[in-house]
Symmetry: C3
Subunit: 301 residues, 3 copies
């Protein structure tokens, strides 16, 4: 968590980034990021960008990724969490992993200190909300029900183009969230990202993401597992195997030169990695699999 | 067709977008889109962008896709059709699927109400021309034969970088089409996109595209097949199977809960889709395969 | 080489592009390119972009590619060479293929007439340095050791985000290289790109890259192998086969209509290609394999 808090502190600009975006419309570039499961072979991503640029020719559009596995909301939620903390405060993040498109699921807007998050109400913003709450700031939530800001006619299969893109463009032009929708108090949430502690004092964690290199990202933060605990002989149990080795960087030589090792990843979480191999394949793990941390002492300092 | 006409109306800015681009050169951002079969692993796409930015550092470049199957002109033509209608009028679209590069095939520029289309004369602009003509506007056609606007020396294997990119950049700076080439009256065209009607009154259609999810895009529009016809019991025959079910959105529960169903896609065409599966795989269809529509009544209202 | 020299001449703006970038900060757009092996499915690329835009909201970011094979420094070096020559002088190129991240390997900046190159000191800038030297300009080399310009805290697994991105952003804001690091005289270099000549007068070359189409890029330039030598009956020996045919463009009909042929590629090097097939598969060649050129006469004119 230290890493993420550090990020937040360098990022901190108080609670209200929106007026700054609105005021500086002419001199400042509004950034809109896109995260989808559309792939890049079809016309879908371009259609979203075209709609944004039609409304706001000065918007800067940045792709986070379009290769979220189809309909995998949890993967989208994690990738958004990991990417969004590097963007300027006030950035508008559009996330469209949307199996329920056309159904009664709501279109929503979430406003945190980080910025604005626009997409379907299906849990994809769970982790950015959880981080915001952990930092002491309750997100503002809006149901995007003002159809005046939609592209007409609204296709029932492509809200990315017809709902989320034009709303994001309106935000980037300085339209206030209150005009785009109705404030609400709850949105759909995935299970929490945080670890729990068992009665016998072991840290109960899990794999929350597996990246392209096969590194297994856990939900363990430096708040859960301090440098002292690691130095004192912490171990990770996962899929019947025990990881006892920790490295500071991938190429480091570790004691006993074990194939599997723990390493602090760049998203602020402990990862289980393997030397020049896929840890996920070696361990045969999948997202959601349990990781149990045993430490000799919970003394933190 | 209603969808596409709707697009055109929201987009409509009269017949002459080019002076607007030229006049507003300093204050307005010129958008150049790229559609190619270059893939994204090599240096090809970046070289095209570098040449554009060398000539016009203020151009905004948007990727449509670089994953058109190699040399698949028809796939390029469809994707360009589906993407371009979301962009602002006056956008410059560069499309390079170019098996004939270096041969005698011409470099061309097509100007429609939508914008400018720059690329090889091999049929890739067929569908955007057909849409323009259907909307009552004859496209302007130019043979790009003014080598003054090319990057020298012109490689015989990479006109994307040496011909199309610098011409697009010149357009984005306000250079008139007449200076870039010679007006012509014909370009290479693919077969028409429109459906036909058989003597016994059945609508003869075909699969024009299969997307990454396996949805099969037909050339059937809402002008061909109205809501009333569907409500009256229209059916689709494709590869010996009959599709009798229609959905408004992917997650909708349909009568009888049939695996295959028709659905209006976001490009304005009827698609044949499957619940959580690839319709293309289930049907074993390929692009070009026939789809025959039988309706009980052609009464439209 | 003629091609590459031609590029360099159109590009030439004297030796000192940096003041121009600094002075024109408000009116001119600074371009930053990215070349990595991160892939596009994870959050890595977006994090780099977010950091750049946080520091310089006006930077223009262009992807060269993120699909360099993981840890393949030589592929990165070639792709950077081929792409960078199309960009405006003064462009900032960030290249992150970085198996040694977190270890003692240095972060470096290379300044040539082409622009700035920021990344790890592992050979990835070898070929752009070699080209610069061949054109008579010794690159300026800097060890990026001023941590003031890094993003804090610096992750030991992601210098793309925490070191190279903020340094590139600083450069784009006009910070001089001297403030970012310490001038050095040597960097890690790969083996030279140039061909050699055997005692019996044969040109000893090699495959330096294989593109997605299976075209085999050699290190042979038009300086090594002139049009007259080709017309006089030059042949290429590779993996026990002899290539005797040359084409000007891919679709050209060549004498005898041989499947394999030589062709001048768009990066300025001779490529071995195959008609509608992968030359690399037909020849079973890999990068590094020898290509021996036999010519009847080395008379150049």
């Amino acid at each position: 968590m230290k890493n993420r808090r550090g990020d937040s502190e360098t990022r901190g600009h108080g609670d209200k980034p929106s007026p700054r975006v609105a005021v500086s419309n002419r001199t400042r570039v509004a950034t809109i990021t896109l995260l989808t499961d559309f792939g890049t072979a079809d016309y879908f991503v371009a259609a979203v960008k075209g709609v944004i640029l039609t409304a706001n020719p000065h918007a800067r559009i940045v792709d986070i990724t379009h290769d979220i596995p189809p309909q995998d909301i949890e993967a989208g939620a994690f990738t958004l969490l990991a990417a969004s903390s590097s963007f300027p405060a006030g950035t508008i993040h559009v996330a469209v992993v949307d199996p329920g498109v056309g159904s009664a699921r709501r279109a929503i807007l979430v406003k945190t200190r980080e910025g604005y998050f626009v997409g379907p109400d299906n849990g994809i913003f769970s982790y950015v909300c959880e981080r915001s709450e952990h930092e002491g700031a309750t997100p503002e939530l809006y149901h995007l029900d003002n159809e005046k800001y939609f592209r007409q006619p609204v296709s029932q299969t492509f809200h990315g183009r017809d709902v989320f893109a034009p709303v994001a463009a309106a935000l980037s032009m300085g339209v206030e969230p209150q005009r785009l929708g109705t404030e609400i108090s709850e949105i759909v949430r995935l299970g929490p990202l945080r670890t729990t502690t068992s009665r016998d004092g072991r840290l109960m964690a899990r794999i929350i993401h597996i990246d392209r290199f096969g590194n297994c990202v856990t939900n363990i933060t430096q708040n859960d597992l301090t440098a002292k605990m690691i130095a004192g002989g912490a171990t990770l149990a996962v899929k019947g195997k025990t990881v006892k080795s920790f490295r500071k960087y991938f190429g480091e030589q570790s004691r006993g030169n074990e194939k599997l090792f723990g390493i602090w990843g760049s998203a602020g979480f402990l990862e289980i990695a393997a030397a020049n191999a896929s840890a996920a394949k070696l361990l045969k793990v999948h997202r959601g699999d349990a990781v149990i941390v045993t430490v000799k002492s919970f003394d933190r300092n």
